[in-house]
């Protein structure tokens, strides 16, 4: 396994959250660029160029460029989730219906960055990077790709067919009724530590969302403050103009100039917070959701396992009953025995499935922890550094104001 995001640790001076992600994987360098708005009205969408530079053995050529839209990224994501149970598939940026129709430039830019992060994360994931889905996504030509998408859409609509959904639901209900009767929840089979982690992750999601919200607020407040400072300064200048003799005119004039500079800085700063802090925090929060998806997979696998187990148990009981009752037909017993065997087989499969997921998750959580710890630390550090720089610039601005004032005082006296 590649040491993930090692460059984050090495690339101290860099302040850009996204560059490490791009530069991370040695096998892939993927760039999502050139967002172009396609179509009009409700059907409008934005297409991106996905450019890949790779050394991966499965790829015949080192460079690829394809055109993809958000839906296509969603395909990749869903496929990966489907095929890689227990893995933490990197999250997609949110679908925002409202913003999508507005198609604001900064929204598109934000999304472009987020998509780039997403696809690079997939490409640097130790398992997902080898997946055929990624391969298809990165190099399939237009036709091939349309075919894939059509197939996928057909599948998803099939999945969503009411009958199968109802059947699934009914099955789940049966199972939960059973576990209710037996008084034994699936959870009891999970180990305690995992449950603790699961609960923590659930709460972490809330915390991160909150942190992201607050970061957004901070950003807005910085901008507000800048605006207020500008207004203050221009009001001050207005007052200063009333004054013809005293030092106030000059002082307020200086104040206006410098305060506007500082305010501009403040604006720039709020943007910096958005890029360097809020976006990664948000992505972190989304990733936690992915972890939750993986956990849900694990839970359903476990549930399938215990379902199979109880199924087997009940079948065995029935067999024993049949055996115990004299004068029954042999073929009936044989049939039941076959059932039991089948159930046993299913149980073994389910167990295998569950254990695979469990092992995968163990590895995944470990990886996740390492990777994200380093990354978030770096993000926090960069944030602090950026703030330090910005405040230093502000200090400079104010210092210059003071110097101006002093010069004015000297000149006036």
């Amino acid at each position: 396994m590649d040491p993930p995001y090692e460059s984050v640790l090495q690339d101290r001076g860099s302040n850009n959250f996204f560059s490490p992600v791009t530069a991370v994987s040695k096998e892939f360098e993927i760039e999502v660029a050139e967002p172009v708005k396609q179509g009009e009205g409700v059907a409008a969408y934005v297409s991106y160029k996905v450019r890949t530079k790779t050394t991966h053995v499965k790829y015949h050529e080192p460079f690829h460029e394809v055109t993809r839209r958000f839906r296509d990224f969603a395909w990749l994501h869903d496929k990966l989730v489907e095929k890689n149970k227990g893995h933490i598939v990197p999250p997609l940026p949110e679908k925002s219906a409202v913003q999508k129709y507005q198609m604001a430039t900064d929204f598109i830019e934000q999304r472009r960055r987020a998509l780039q992060v997403f696809v690079n994360r997939v490409a640097s994931h130790p398992v997902l990077k080898d997946s055929s889905e990624l391969e298809t996504f990165l190099q399939a030509n237009e036709e091939h790709w349309m075919l894939e998408i059509a197939k996928w859409q057909a599948e998803t609509s099939a999945q969503h067919r009411p009958v199968s959904a109802a059947a699934q639901w009914f099955k789940n209900l049966q199972h939960s009724a059973q576990s209710l009767v037996s008084g034994r929840a699936d959870e009891m089979q999970e180990d305690a530590e995992y449950i603790k982690i699961r609960d923590y992750i659930n709460s972490l999601e809330g915390h991160l969302t909150e942190a992201h919200r607050q970061a957004g607020r901070l950003l807005r407040k910085e901008a507000d403050l800048g605006a207020a400072l500008t207004e203050f300064a221009s009001a001050a200048e207005l007052l200063g103009k009333q004054d013809n003799e005293g030092p106030m005119r000059v002082a307020f004039g200086c104040l206006c100039t410098r305060a506007n500079e500082v305010a501009a800085l403040s604006r720039a700063r709020s943007e910096a917070i958005a890029v360097e802090f809020a976006a990664p925090l948000k992505e972190f929060a989304r990733t936690i959701k992915s972890v939750q998806v993986a956990m849900a997979d694990r839970a359903s696998a476990l549930s399938a396992y215990s379902q199979a187990k109880s199924d087997l148990d009940s079948k065995k009981v029935r067999l024993a009953k049949l055996r115990g009752t004299p004068g029954l037909k042999e073929d009936k017993i044989a049939e039941t025995e076959r059932d039991v065997n089948e159930a046993d087989q299913r149980l073994r499969n389910a167990k295998l499935g569950y254990e695979t997921i469990r092992d995968t998750m163990r590895e995944e959580l470990n990886r996740f922890q390492k990777e994200r710890a380093a990354e978030m630390s770096a993000v926090l550090r960069d944030f602090a550094l950026a703030q330090a720089r910005n405040t230093a610039e502000q200090a400079k601005g104010w210092g210059e104001l003071l110097r101006d004032l002093q010069q004015a005082a000297v000149g006036g006296s």
């Binding site: 530590e193 923590y200 007052l239 106030m248 380093a374 630390s377 110097r403």
Partner: protein, 772 residues
């Protein structure tokens, strides 16, 4: 520019989180200990007051290098530290008087620097010894000339006193200051922390004894003698500024007369303090102290006697400052008086008002808010045309009136009012103010001296009506006497004149008047004032908003810190997100917490330094009233003049008629005056009465106009300077906050870096937990 730049660094903000669990408060408290004791002895001063003043911010700035103000600070620092002789164990003033060293104005320069770019703050130095840094030509004569010009015979000796003393004092105070500085770093900071405490000037004055103790704590025993000086002299941010800025109503606002006087009075004050505090045994007593009392008291008399007679010309400024140069309002206590409704009682608050000056011993009186209102109103009516400083507003919600916060607010308001008042050249030494401040009678309404001053109250409605009837019928004189004319008709209860003037105004009498150049100018000024006040209003609103946003920002930073910290508070955090990230989050949260506190403090300090905006906004109505008084006088003049013209016309007509038929009537009326003759006589009398009245009214108008003119000039000049100061102080706060924030962020970043490095090291060695 000589900022005080000893590397000693009064750097209250700098001692950041070396100890990681330091709370922010402790950071701010981690001034050297003497300063801390100062802060604590000074009482209620919140810790940030003692550091986040502009002054300390300034020294902070200088201390924390070139980035802020390149080239400031360092050059001047060495001479102070190195060249000054070691401080004498016992401080001897004479010695210092005798040897003015080249660097004595250094601390002053620090102050002056802060206030005005240096020059105007040390006029006496400028005049007494060659100015080492800057030419200060215009500073040399203003005080003396201003005072010599005054007709007061006592003025000259009185002047020489402050002049000489301040010359020496100017050298001594700062010098001793410098010596204290050179002792060691802790003392430097201590010495400089004194002024920062004075930022809360009220605190200092509420505990007059404590100040001595404070000061003693701050400096060595030798220096303690100088402490009153140290307090009175240098920054005194709020107070000195108010004090000095309000002083001058000079004809030439640009000339720094005010400052020189301030300096003089400050020294005088300090000298008086020393004399009072240390007693005759002090090394100083031999010096000018004995000479001081004589002329000074003469000055008092002169000042007092001058006031009622000469309303027009501004008083010698020294008089204003000599009579009272500081006032403090303190120790409010509750009292109960019987209410107007029998059987009920009415609680109210009494405030102790202590005034100090050189020549009159310190006095303390107790006044209630009602008295403040009465004083302001009396001054307004006694000295029309003067800008009476704004007093706190009257409307208090009944239930709120006894709340401590309200009382404190009002106390501050009263103090502000009185401080501005006592340095006013006309109002300050006026008898009304002095009686109010000095006569200890508990209830002002029973105080004889006070009652004597009150103008006769406007007669009641019945009386006015009766008088009106008489005037209409012609029994009583219609033309006001020259004495009456100095008071507005409404106050005299002279309804006839009042109506007459209004009618004349409507008729457009004012349009006929030839406006003097002064009047034209004053009208322009009035318009300018209006515009100014609008701009000021806009600005103060913006300032409000700015401060509100700052507060909000600090709150949000806090919330973000909380949100980050919340992630680390759940158990087994370390297992899931890794211990290094948990630690990083915690560090960030701590950093944000500190930032939040810093921002909170910064926004408080900003708010504080923006208060001059509100003060000046509040001062506008007083100015408008004063200007209106002049307009009213002008109206009186115009009405009287038009009356005179009218009467003279009638007189001429009557005389010609009389002259036209002299032959017919001459014989018959020789023994007995005809009705026509009587009428002519009456008209003649009226005309002469009117002429006298016009002269009186014109005099009054001109007096008020002159007051208006000097007042508005001073008003503008002071406002300009004070607001310019406010801008600088605001900038200083912002600078200090930004630098501190930068430090905190850099610190946080550094810690995060360390953590990352540690985590990397752990990762290499293959440590780390394995979640399942």
């Amino acid at each position: 520019m000589s900022l005080h730049g000893t590397k000693a660094t009064f750097d209250p903000l700098s001692t950041t989180g070396d100890a990681s669990d330091d709370t922010f408060t402790t950071i701010f408290e981690s001034l050297p200990t003497p300063a801390v004791t100062t802060a604590t002895t000074a009482g209620a001063a919140p810790e940030y007051d003692s550091f986040m003043t502009a002054r300390s911010a300034m020294s902070y700035m200088t201390a924390s290098q070139e980035m802020a103000v390149p080239g400031v600070g360092s050059s001047r620092a060495e001479p102070l530290v190195s060249e000054q002789p070691a401080p004498p164990a016992v401080f001897s003033p004479q010695q210092d008087y005798a040897t003015p060293t080249p660097g004595p104005e250094l601390p002053l320069a620090f102050d002056g620097e802060a206030a005005e770019g240096g020059a105007p703050y040390k006029p006496f130095l400028g005049s007494s010894q060659p100015p080492p840094q800057k030419p200060q030509p215009q500073l040399k004569q203003p005080l003396s000339s201003a005072l010599r010009d005054s007709s007061n015979p006592f003025a000259a000796p009185a002047v020489t006193l402050p002049y000489q003393q301040s010359t020496t004092g100017g050298a001594v105070g700062p010098l001793s200051f410098g010596e204290v500085n050179s002792k060691d770093e802790a003392q430097t900071t201590a010495a400089f922390s004194v002024p920062t405490d004075l930022y809360e000037a009220s605190n200092m004055f509420t505990l007059p004894d404590a100040t001595a103790a404070t000061a003693a704590a701050a400096a060595a025993a030798a220096a303690s003698l100088m402490n009153p000086q140290a307090q009175a002299l240098p920054p005194l941010y709020d107070f000195t500024r108010e004090f000095s800025r309000m002083l001058p109503v000079s004809e030439d606002p640009a000339s720094p007369v005010d400052d020189s006087v301030t300096a003089g009075t400050v020294f005088l004050y300090d000298n008086g303090q020393v004399r009072g505090g240390v007693g005759g045994g002090s090394a100083r007593s031999g010096l000018p102290a004995s000479g001081g009392t004589g002329p000074a008291s003469g000055q008092t008399d002169a000042g007092r006697s001058a006031v009622p007679s000469g309303g027009g010309g501004p008083m010698p400024y020294a008089a204003a400052a000599l009579l009272t140069n500081t006032v403090s309002v303190h120790s409010p206590r509750k009292a109960v008086a019987p209410s107007r409704i029998p059987g009920l009682s009415e609680p109210y608050t009494l405030y102790c008002i202590t005034s100090r000056s050189v020549i009159v011993p310190e006095t303390t009186v107790e006044r209630r808010f009602r008295d403040v209102v009465a004083l302001a109103e009396l001054l307004q009516s006694l000295y029309p045309g003067c800008f009476v400083p704004p007093r706190p507003s009257r409307n208090a919600v009944e239930g709120r009136r006894m709340q401590p916060s309200f009382i404190e607010e009002r106390r501050l308001g009263i103090e502000k009012f009185l401080r501005r008042l006592v340095v006013h050249p006309v109002l300050g030494p006026s008898e009304a103010t002095q009686v109010w401040l000095r006569v200890p009678t508990a209830d002002l309404r029973t105080c004889q001296e006070w009652l004597r001053l009150l103008p006769s109250a406007p007669p009641g409605i019945a009386k006015s009506t009766a008088r009106l009837l008489c005037q209409v019928v012609g029994v009583e004189r219609v033309v006001p006497s020259p004495v009456d004319i100095t008071r507005p008709a409404s106050e005299r209860g002279d309804v006839y004149r009042l109506v007459h003037e209004r009618a004349a105004q409507i008729r457009g009498v004012l349009n006929k008047v030839q406006l003097s150049a002064t009047e034209e100018r004053l009208r322009e000024e009035a318009i300018g004032l209006q515009e100014r006040s609008e701009a000021l209003l806009g600005l103060s609103r913006r300032a409000d908003q700015l401060v509100a946003r700052m507060t909000k920002r600090s709150k949000v930073a806090h919330d973000l810190g909380d949100a980050l910290a919340a992630e680390t508070q759940v158990k087994c955090t370390a297992v899931v997100i890794g211990s290094s990230l948990a630690a990083a989050l915690r560090v960030s949260a701590d950093g944000l917490g500190q930032i939040n506190k810093l921002y909170g403090i910064a926004s408080d300090a900003s708010a504080k330094h923006l208060t001059p905006l509100y003060d000046w906004l509040a001062a506008v109505p007083g100015a408008v009233t004063a200007l209106a008084a002049r307009e009213r006088c002008l109206l009186t003049v115009a009405t009287l003049e038009s009356d005179e013209v009218e009467v003279r016309a009638k007189l001429a007509e009557a005389e010609t008629r009389l002259g036209g038929a002299p032959s017919a009537s001459a014989t018959s009326t020789s023994s007995q005056p005809t009705t026509a003759m009587k009428k002519v006589e009456a008209l003649r009398l009226q005309a002469s009465q009117l002429a006298v009245a016009v002269t009186a009214a014109r005099d009054e108008y001109e007096r008020v106009g002159a007051r208006n003119l000097s007042e508005i000039t001073a008003f503008k000049a002071h406002m300009s300077r004070e607001l310019a100061d406010a801008v600088r102080e605001f900038a200083l706060v912002q600078l200090a906050a930004a630098q501190k924030a930068q430090e905190l962020w850099a610190d946080t970043a550094g810690k995060l870096e360390e953590l990352a490095a540690m985590a990397a090291a752990v990762a290499v060695t293959g440590g780390g937990s394995h979640p399942r």
